[in-house]
Structures are given as structure tokens and as C-alpha cells.
Amino acid sequence: MESSRVLTLILLSGGLGFGGYCVACALHVWKARIAGSGNHAGASRCTRRLKGIGVALIAGGALTATVGLIVQLFLNREGVLRGEQLTTIRPPETLLVQEVTSAETVRAADWIATFRSPEREAQIEVNELKLENHAAQQRVLRSEPLKPDAEITRHLQEALAEQRHLQMTLSELELEDRRLNRERLRDQLAREKEIGELGEKIGSLESELKQAEADREYQAASLSRLISIRRRDEAVIPDDQYEQLRSEARIAEEEVLRLQESVRAFEAERAKQKHRLHELLTVAEQQSTEYQTRIVGLRERLAAVSQQHESLQRQLDSDLVRAREHRQEQLGQLGIALQQTERELAGLKDSITIRAPRAGRIVYRDPSPQTVKPGEPLLVFSPDAGLRVRLRLPTWEARLLAGAGPVRLQLIEPETEQGKVQQRFIERRFLGSWASSASLPQDRGFALVELSCEPPGDAIRSLAAGDEIAVRMIWLAPLYRNPLVHWGALLAALGACGITTTVVLSRKVESGSHARERLSVHNSTRRGPPPLVSSEDAMLHLLGSQLREAIVRGEVDPSLIAAAEWALDGHRPRAIRLMALGLGEDAEFLQYVENCWKQLSAEEPADEFRGANCGNTNALQQRTAAVLRPIASESLRRRLHFIERQWDELAVSRQRIDEAAAIKASEFMSASAAALRSHGTDRSSRTA
């Protein structure tokens, strides 16, 4: 049996047992006390029987529940764990483990382990180099330009060169033509402007000429008139004036001549310019015509060359398509070579690498992968749903287990044939969750329960080797869900109902007088004796007690008597009542009083009482009697009176005896003196 279960059982039974014992003892004490306190009631035969049945039912219920608990605690909850759906990775014989994945879960085709092999690693390196070479060739091929047909290219270049030459020549001619036109136009404009300027000058000269001719005519008229005047009288016109006038006329004449000459010169110049202009236009027209002719020729030539170029260009384009296709074919060849190398490389790598055959969780990983021997499990996969533990449980426990959440499972070490327990598993406990349950048709009341779980690595290793492992479930269904406990509780409840009924019946049977009696007892217990009115009452009460104690001891203290006298003076009614209570009344005390009286009489009175003797008693006796007299009971008072009277009589008789004794003593003394006197001499001599 599992140790924890034994511990639980011991704890449970010990706790319940000790608790039950304590409760039973407490109930026993309680019952004894209730019986002693008179709180119990008489029970009839019927109620006793009913009570007995109730107790029996409670006991039966407790027994049933206990049996249920024991059965449940001792039920075998062992199941079987098998390595179904486990995938085990084992290293090949020729390879050594290099690296293992550290992931907990892997998808299909994920890398999980790598092995080592020098030959294959060399091949891998060669293939990797090839791969690099092919890749480089591809890059080179892609970077190279296309290669068209050289003849076509040459013709095309020639045509292109001629076309460019013609184009350039045409451009130059057109430029020259335009320049010629511009120069012609500019010269034409300059000439025409110059001609216009000459015309304007001629016009101004002609107007000056007209002015000069008018001036000349005027001068000539003036001169003629002057000459006529002079002719009529020379005296009238001086000579100098005449000469002046003549010179002016001559100057005017000369001016006219000069102007005429200038007009003619300018007109000649204008005509010349016009002629030149005409010549210029003519030359320009000729040159322009020549240029246009050449341009037309060039354009025709250029069109022919362009057609040739286009034809060549089409040939070149078709040739480039061909060249491109050729390069693509080359690249394709290289790609195929590359893929071939990659495949070879992947194949080589795959030969030293393991990939997950399917998605799942790695439930076991050898702690030292590099030292795993060929054939031993390196990695173990389990499906995502985990492994299954199958066990047989009562149906009601199986139902509860479905909602119990994760439960703990423990591996059971197998036994050898010699009966010894093998210590294979270090980690023995793990969690499992309810997965399914199905009732067993041939095993009524029981169900087959499947728990999904993740066993520890050691167990997985064993499972991967094909072993079966026994597993114990460390889970206990709530005891209060046990059907037997339910039955027990039901029986106990019935018993409790029965006992409650007996109690109710017993209470009804109780008489009202009994209840009143209990009530009165209860009230008297609660109320207690009447309280004192004040602290003075208590002190008076206590004073009575102390007085009694002093009398009992025979040590009546004068201060105590003084306090009693003071109390009686100050609080006489209360003092008498309360001191009497404290003093008490019993036969023994009367004897003590008598003894005390005797003792007081024998005592030497204190200073304050000295000389206060009155009669046959001393003052302390008298004061004690005076204090005792009012507070004493009737019997004590009588006794006190008797003692006093007896004491007086005794004192009187003692006095008489003393007097007689004194007389006798005096007589004796006188006789003795006489005798002494008679025998004085003899005695003195003997004494000497």
C-alpha cells in the first residue's frame, strides 16, 4: 500500500479517533454535570427505546460510512501505461550524434538532430563549392550583354554613320541657307535703309537748295534793286554796302551751286546703292536656289539611308531575340546544374540530419546525445494528446475524476523474478488528466478510465523499448461523495431525528413545577445573597469577625475594642446588626468568651486602663462586655451576664478569701513576728 495513503489513513483515523474520544469524554463530563445539576428529566420506556434505536442508527450510519471510507481507501487504483503512438529516433550505426534539437514541440519536417560522417561532410563541402561555382556563373552570364550578328551590326553601323553624315550635311546646308537668307535680308535692309537715308538727305538738300535759291533770288533782287538804286544814285548806297550785298549775292550763288552739287552727288550715291542692292538680291537668290537644290538632294539621300537603317535594325532586333534566347538556355542549364548540386547537397545533409516525421512533442531526450549507442533511443515523440494510462475505477469515482482536474500518478517499479523491486525510475510522480471513461459491461459498477499524461523520461525510455509500466493513481475521491458515506449519513440523520424526538418528548413530559424549580434555582444562583449597602457595612461585618477572632484567640486588643465602641457609637443600628453577623453564634464561641474573660482578668491592664478598675473586673473586661452586650445574641448575652455574675460572685468570694487569708496572714505574721522576736538571739547567732 502506498505510504502517503497509509499516512493519510493514520492521520484520518488518528484524528477522528482522538477527536471522537475527546468529544465522548466531554459529553460524558457534560452528562455527569447535567445529571448532577438536576437538569435531566425522566424518560419513559417508549422514549428510551426510541433513543436506543436512534443511537443504533447513528452507530450503524457511522459504521457504514467507516466501511465505505475504508473500502475506498484500500481500493486498488493501479493502471497500465503503454508506449502507443510513440516515435523513437535511434542513431544509425555509422554515424555519431552531433546535435539534437532543444525544442519541446516540433512540426512535421522540423530539424531535430544532426549526425557526424567525415566522408559525407567532404562531399557536402564539394557540392557546396559546386553550388557556389554555378551561382557565380549564373551571375556572370546575367551580367554579360547580348551578342548579335556582327555583319548586321557592321552594316547597321555604317548605315547609321552615313545617316548621321547626311543628317549633319543637311543640317549644315540648312544652316548655311538660313544664314545666307539672314545676310541677304540684313544687307537688303541696310541698303534700303542707307538708300532711305540718302533720299532724306537729298530731300533736305533740295529744300536747302530751294531755300538757297530763294535766298539767291532775294539777294539777286536786292542786288538788282541796289544796283538800280545805285544806278540812280550812287551816293545813296555806299560802296561797302553794295559790296557786301554783292558778296552776299555771290555767296548765295555759290551756296546754290554747292547744294546743287550735293544733291547730285547724293542722288548718284543713291542710285549706286540701289544698284548694289539689286545685285545683292540677285546673288542671294542664286545662292539660295543652289542650296535648296542641294538640300533636296541630301534629303532624298537621307531617306534612302534611313530605310536601309531600319531594315538593318529589324534584322538586328531579330538577331537579339535569338541571342537572348540563347542566353536563357545557358542560364537554364546552369540552374539545372545548380539544382542538381543542391539536391546532392541536401541529400548528403539529409543523410546526417533527422527531421521530424510528424508534428508532436518530444517527451524523451537522451541527456547525453553524443554518447548514445546505435539502436538506443535518442529522442521519443509522442502525439499532442499525450500518452494514455488505463485503469479500472468504480463508476462513481470515474464520474468525479472527470471533473477533478489534473491528478497525480505514480510509477510502480517492477519486481524481478526474485521478488526484488527494481529501482529504474528516479522521478516517479507525474500528472495526468481525465481523457475518457467507459463503463465495463462485464464488470458492473466499474469503468475503464483513460488518463492522458506525460510520464517522466525514464518511463518514456522504457516505453520506447516496448515495456509496459504499472501506474498508480494518487487521487482520492471526496469521501463525502462515497455512496456508502451517503447511506451512513442518512442512517445517522435518522438516528439524530429519533434522538431529537426523544428529547422533545422528554421536555414535554417535564412538569411545570420542575421547570419552575429549575428556574428558581437558576435565579437564586444568579442573584446570590443580598449585597451590602456600602463599604462601611462590610467593615462593620468584618469588625464583628475580628472581634470574634480576638475573643477566640484570647487576645482582645484595646484598639479593637475602641474601634468597636466607635462603630457602635457612630452607626449603632447597622453596627449592631452587621457586627452581630460577623460575631456569629455558636456554642463553641460561648466557651471562647468565657476563656477570654478569664484571660482578660489575669492580664495586667494597660496604662490607659490603669486605675479605671471598677468593682471586681478590670476596665478592658468591662468595655469588652459593653461592646458584646448589644451585638451578642440572646444566648450569648445570657451567658455573658452569667459569666459576669459568676465572676462577680467569684470575685466576692475571692475577696472574702483574700480578706480571710489576709487576716490569717496577719495573724500568722504577728505570730511569726512574736516567734521571731522570742528566738531572735538564737537565730542571729546561728546565722552568724
Binding site: 502517503s4 493519510t8 492521520l11 484520518l12 484524528g15 477522528l16 482522538f18 477527536g19 474520544y21 475527546c22 468529544v23 469524554c25 466531554a26 459529553l27 460524558h28 463530563v29 457534560w30 454535570r33 447535567i34 448532577g36 445539576s37 438536576g38 437538569n39 482536474g405 487521487w475 482520492l476 471526496p478 469521501l479 463525502y480 429549575r518 434555582v521 437558576h522 444562583t525 444568579r526 446570590g528 445573597p529 443580598p530 449585597p531 451590602l532 456600602s534 463599604s535 462601611e536 457595612d537 462590610a538 467593615m539 461585618h541 468584618l542 469588625l543 469577625s545 475580628q546 470574634r548 477572632e549 477566640v552 484567640r553 474601634a563 452587621l578 453577623l581 460577623g582 456569629g584 455558636d586
Partner: protein, 472 residues
Amino acid sequence: MSSDASLPTDSPVATAAPHHLKSPTGGRQEQFVFAVGVLLSLGLLAAAAYRLYLGSDGDAELMAAARLFLAGVALLSGCRWLSFFVLSFVARVHHRRHAPPDPTHWPLVSIFVPCFNESETIEPALDSLLELDYPRFEVLAVNDGSTDDTLKRARQYEGRHANCTVRVIDKPNGGKWSAHNTAFRRSQGELILCIDADSRLERSSLKHMVRRMCDERVAGVAGQMRVRNRMNLITRLQGLEYLMANGALRLGQGLFGTVLIVPGPIGLFRRSAMEKVYGNYGFTLQDGHDGRMSGPFEGDTFAEDFDLSLAILCHGGRIVYEPEAISRTKAPDRHFALLNQRYRWVRGAIQVLRKFVRRVRQNPRVLSPRLLVWILFTYVPDLFLLPAIYMIGLGFALLLLANGSDLLPLGGWFLAFLLLQSSAGAFFISVHRDDLALLKVLPFYGPYNGLVLNSAWLISVIDEIRGVRMRW
């Protein structure tokens, strides 16, 4: 006799030089155990606070509730024990630094020995009293209507002895309280020592207690109770309980002069304080009527010692604790007797507290703050919290076991409690100079408290609520 005389105005004890000087902080063992106990308490407090801070932490509901409950209990327990440790240690240091001096005049002490069918124990008790190291005292053995030969055996001792006088008073049965009152009436001592007939005082106990009376404010001195008959587990557990529960409490209470219970087996009172209590709360009875006698002790509760102590405290008197005064008493050695005793104690405590509440209602001035604090600190946990905690804890344990839960995760808490209790036990045993062998029964202390005492608590509370008539 003045009625309004203040309690300890006329101290009969004059002081002289201190009688002994010791290390103020106690021995190394005591210091070590104190340090360990304080550290454990603080650790438990921190763990409890951390646990409460974490909350349920994803456990199952029942287990989470159990964990939180244990954390709460640990918090309370840590605080309580920490305060006990500190107060007790301070009390010890204070007591050693302010050691009471020897009085120049030893006052007359009256020792009350109420006897009821104590024929087997009265002689050793009187023998132990006659051997007391004290110059002048009187012993009043009150035979409370015994039906055996207690009176005859006690009479053998009657008379004058070397330093004491023994008087035997016979009276009809009226209860321990009336026997005390009878002795009070018959006594003359200015100090009154009440003991039980089955108690045996150590030789120097009386002197230790009288020294504490040098302080005029002190009206009562409680001594240390020890179990004499350590013959079985029950008595040993009681011996441990007297140290860990009663001793610890009284050390702390004594520091403030507020010892709530002067135990019946050894308690010294000042007569004037008792007279004042009698004057204020006393009842008049026809003395000797039905064997009852009025006085400072009252018979309306099961705990007349607690009643008297509380009444003295109500009137401003101080009651201190003297662990050097030791009374070896006989503890119940059977389960039934123990339950009976605890029934009386618990019911008595409840009765006295109810009476105290009535007195406070009548006169609120009797309630001083320190008295209220100590009553709350002592009786709220003892009468309500601890029984409730034990019962709830027991319910949790049963529920967890019934639920099939594993109790091992909670083992740490129990181990911590056990460690704390061990350190507390070692400390208080060391303080009281008792035998460390008592620690052997410590693992049973929890069940003893939780099951044995609580069962008595349960029936006594029920009876008190029902008002069942008192019966000794």
C-alpha cells in the same frame, strides 16, 4: 477602620538592601532562545504576509482557502508570540534590574489552606508550609466539611511551631470561596497567602513574594504554578501549558502590574486590598449558614481567584508576577478530571467576565485602559479566537482529508508553528527554570489544545449559555 482607605496605603514592609544581583538580561540560554523565538516569529509573520500578498495562487478552492486561513493564523500567532517574547523578556530584564529588596521587617503572613477531602495531600502540604523560610506566619487550614479524615490529619499539626502557628478550622461544606472567607475572618496577618491543599510551596517562595510587596502599590502577587505529578502525557502537557500559556501571559501582565488571575495554588494578597474589595462588592451572609461565609471571595463564579484578582485590579491595585515563587500542585492526571477542571475554568472565566461587565456598567470608573487592553488581549484570543481557530482548522483538515487532498503542502506551516512553539516552550521553560524535558511532549501540545481543551470549552460555553446550575 476607615472605609475609604486606599488600597495599599499602609505598607508593612520597609525596604532594605537588595537580596541578590543577577545578570539583568538573563542567562545565555535564555537570550539565545529569546533571539531564536523572535526571529522565528518575525519569519512566520513575513511568510504569512507574503502568503496573504500572493493570494490564492491558482490552487484549488479548498486548498487555497486552507492556505489563506493558515497564513492568517500564522499572522495572528506570530504577532501574539512576538509580543509574548518581547514582553516576557522585558519583564525579566526589568525584574532583574529592579530586584525587590529584603524588607527590614517581615510582616505577619496568614496562609489559607482550604481542604475538602484532602486526607492524602494535606499532610505534605502542611509539611511544606512548616518548612517555609519565613520568620513569622500563621497557617489556617479550613476543613470545608470533609467527609474523610482530613480534619483529623490536619489537627495533628495544630499549635505553635518554630516560626508559625497552625490553626485548623472546621466548618460545614460551603465551597472553597467560603473556606477562604472563613480563614480571612479568622486570620490576623497583614498579608494573606492563598494556596490549595494539594500544593507544595518551595521553601523560599513566601519570601520572594513578600519582597514584591515592598512596593506599596502592589496589592497582590501571583506565583508560578508547576505540575508536581508529571506522571503521564496529560500532566506533562499541563505542565507545559502552565509555562507557555499562563506563565507567558503573567510575565507580560506582571510588567504592567495587571496580572488578571492570581492562581489558587499560590497567591499573596494585601489584607487592606481584600478588605476594600469586600467593602465594595461583598455580600452579607449569616456566617456559618450552610457552611457559607461572606468575605472578599465570592461564590457566584467557578473562578473565585480570578474574581478577586479582577476586583482588586478594578480598584487600582497592582498585581505582579513572581516566577521565583513556586507552588508545585497536583494536576488532573485523568482525561475526565482534566475536562472537569477546564470546564470550571472556562465557565468561571466567562462568569467573572460577565460579572466584570456588570460592575463596569454600574461604575465605569473601575475600568482602566491597561486593564481593558489586557482583558482584550488575553480573553478575546483565549475564549473566542483560539477555540474558533482550532475548530476551523480541524474542520479544514477533515475537509481536505475527506476531499482526498494531500496535506503535505501545508506541512511547512505546521512545521513553522511547531518550531515557534518549540522556541516559545524553550524560552518560557528557561525563564521559569523548569525542566527542558517538558519539550518532549510539545508535538502533542497542538492536539491537546485543539481537541482536549476545546471540547471542555465547548461544553462549558454551552452550559454557560444555557445557564446550567453551578456544581463543583
